[in-house]
């Protein structure tokens, strides 16, 4: 939790905390090892790694959050509807889910990037197109059980409308498990972002994003380890933060992943 808080602070106050401009290139300070002037060293353009890591927190937090929020909303809504109505709606829904699940993510991701150009927008769209499935499946399975639960039947027997029962009574209960899953999913989203960066399709330069920083720093892995290490560690730490939060949520709500 403290980890997440730290990153949040970094992200919000990046302009005040970061010692340098993250995109400022200092030709005289290329590939400097960590030193008092540049605590985490500089990259091959002479940019300050610390500042870039700090500014990167903004983008990466945003990636992790947006990357799961839309899938979560779409997935839980569709899953609820499919589970609740059942029948043909559900059959079609499940086949669509199968299609999405079996569709190679790489093809989708690369196609969308190719169509819209590399960048965060394409990434979010691709994540949303694919990510919703896991939530939808989770929620649907829950709804299938819950819709026969006595309290759902009770709500119906009290004359409540279907959408009220679906979204006010069933969804909050069904989504609890998914909420925990959101946290581990955020980690996956971050890593997907990093993998895309490895293929050279990460965010537009000169933006500082950890995945891109790690990928770009690869050429210097044996000569300037600090370029990859610190953004890499940041990803790990952020992932760690999300996992802990997930665990805490799980304990809080009495659900286990």
């Amino acid at each position: 939790m403290a980890v997440l808080g730290l990153f949040l602070v970094l992200a919000v106050f990046a302009p005040f905390i970061a010692p340098y401009d993250p995109i400022f290139q200092d030709a005289a300070a290329r590939l400097h090892a960590p030193s008092p002037a540049h605590p985490l060293g500089t990259d091959n353009f002479g940019r300050d790694i610390l500042s870039r890591v700090i500014w990167g927190a903004r983008i990466d937090l945003q990636i992790a959050v947006i990357g799961v929020v839309f899938p979560f909303i779409i997935g839980t809504t569709l899953g609820t509807i499919a589970g609740f109505f059942g029948g043909i709606v559900d059959v079609i829904f499940m086949r669509v889910v199968d299609v999405v699940l079996a569709f190679p993510f790489l093809v989708l991701m690369l196609s969308i990037i190719a169509i819209l150009g590399p960048g965060l927008g394409s990434f979010y769209i691709a994540m949303a197109l694919v990510g919703w499935v896991s939530y939808a499946r989770l929620v649907r399975a829950q709804i299938l059980v819950l819709k026969n639960s006595d309290y759902a039947v009770a709500a119906i027997s009290l004359g409540f409308s279907r959408s009220r029962v679906m979204f006010r009574h069933l969804l909050p209960n069904a989504a609890a498990g998914s909420l925990v899953f959101v946290m581990s999913d955020a980690v996956l989203v971050l890593l997907n972002g990093a993998a895309i960066s490895y293929l050279g399709l990460g965010v537009q330069p000169p933006l500082a994003e950890w995945g891109v920083m790690v990928a770009d720093g690869q050429s210097f892995i044996s000569t300037a380890w600090w370029i990859t290490l610190f953004p890499g560690l940041s990803i790990v730490l952020l992932a760690f933060g999300f996992s802990l939060l997930g665990d805490a949520l799980a304990d809080l709500m009495g659900v286990h992943e």
């Binding site: 299609v99 190679p104 790489l106 093809v107 169509i115 581990s184 993998a195 293929l199 790990v236 992932a239």
Partner: protein, 312 residues
């Protein structure tokens, strides 16, 4: 109702799924701006040469006509010809299938071998030192970008220690396994982290469940309680998680494949997308889709076998 009845009718449902995937892939890759002919010709391309290539591969036909050709070919067990490699897509895929398959299988095997004992250790010592250690390690395992992890493993095991080859895919079976050791370890490290967490959670629940208490009350020693009651009762969610992850793996090994220079399908796919080798993209997508569908099917069968309550 027979519990395994779905084994008979489920395969019928694969058809619409695969059809759907073929249509989406087809449309999607053709929506991407870019032209295979131009990729092939490179910077020296002239419009005439481009038109010539497009005609050769039928790319000048309307989209739906092309799709029907594709489906027609598929019906005859063909997938067309690669524009870049100029050979049958099916043959091309056949040459590249094995490394990917081997990588996925060996990583899954490794990650199970890692995950089960770790999860058991953590669950049995819940909230004590081993548990915290396992949880921290597994979170770290999830967090490392695979390409970075892969390089570190190479530098440590291959360059410094010289135990494993740096990269490549061997000739004989043992040679292949030897070459696969590091790549599959890379994948397994992150996969097992996911599995460990899920399995630990399930085991913690099962260890505290009434079933376990009842077994203890019968005087069963902790080992029987664990192996005969706790483990079987915690496997189902993990099996399904594993299935989903294998699905992801099948389509997502490209990073590991390129770092370790494994001549697999992932690399082929990325190359094909970048060079707009439509037929190859479609073919590989279909293979991945089939594999994913099969894996999920298998997971369903295992689930039913593991848990007699489940009906599908």
């Amino acid at each position: 109702m027979h519990r395994y009845r779905f084994v008979l009718y489920r395969p019928l449902q694969f058809l619409p799924v695969l059809l759907g995937i073929s249509i989406i892939t087809f449309v999607l890759v053709r929506l991407i701006p870019g032209d295979p002919a131009r990729v092939l010709l490179g910077s020296r391309a002239t419009p005439a040469a481009i038109a010539n290539i497009r005609a050769q591969y039928g790319l000048d036909e309307p989209l739906w006509v092309q799709y029907f050709y594709f489906i027609g070919n598929l019906g005859q067990g063909e997938m067309g010809k690669s524009i870049l490699y100029k050979i049958d897509v099916l043959r091309l895929i056949a040459t590249r299938l094995e490394p990917t398959l081997a990588l996925v299988l060996s990583s899954v095997a490794q990650s199970i071998l890692i995950a089960v004992p770790l999860a058991a250790l953590a669950a049995r010592h819940r909230t004590r030192l081993p548990d915290h250690a396992v949880r921290i390690v597994s979170t770290l395992g999830i967090g490392f970008p695979p390409f970075w992890l892969a390089l570190m493993l190479i530098i440590l095991f291959s360059v410094r220690l010289g135990i494993f080859p740096v990269s490549g895919y061997g000739g004989s079976l043992t040679d292949k396994l030897y070459h696969l050791a590091l790549p599959s370890l890379t994948v397994a490290l992150s996969l097992s982290a996911v599995l460990t967490r899920s399995l630990r959670a399930a085991m913690v629940q099962a260890l505290e469940s009434d079933v376990a208490t009842a077994a203890r009350a019968r005087g069963m020693p902790e080992s029987i309680v664990f192996w005969r009651h706790v483990l079987p009762n915690s496997l189902v969610p993990t099996v399904n998680l594993l299935a989903v992850n294998i699905g992801w793996l099948i389509g997502g090994t490209v990073v590991v494949e390129s770092v370790f220079a494994l001549p697999g399908l992932g690399q082929l796919l990325v190359r094909a997308i970048f060079s707009r080798d439509y037929m190859v993209v479609q073919g590989v997508a279909m293979v991945f889709a089939c594999a994913t569908v099969l894996v999920n099917f298998l997971a369903d069968i295992i689930t039913v076998a593991l848990d007699p309550r489940v009906k599908l």
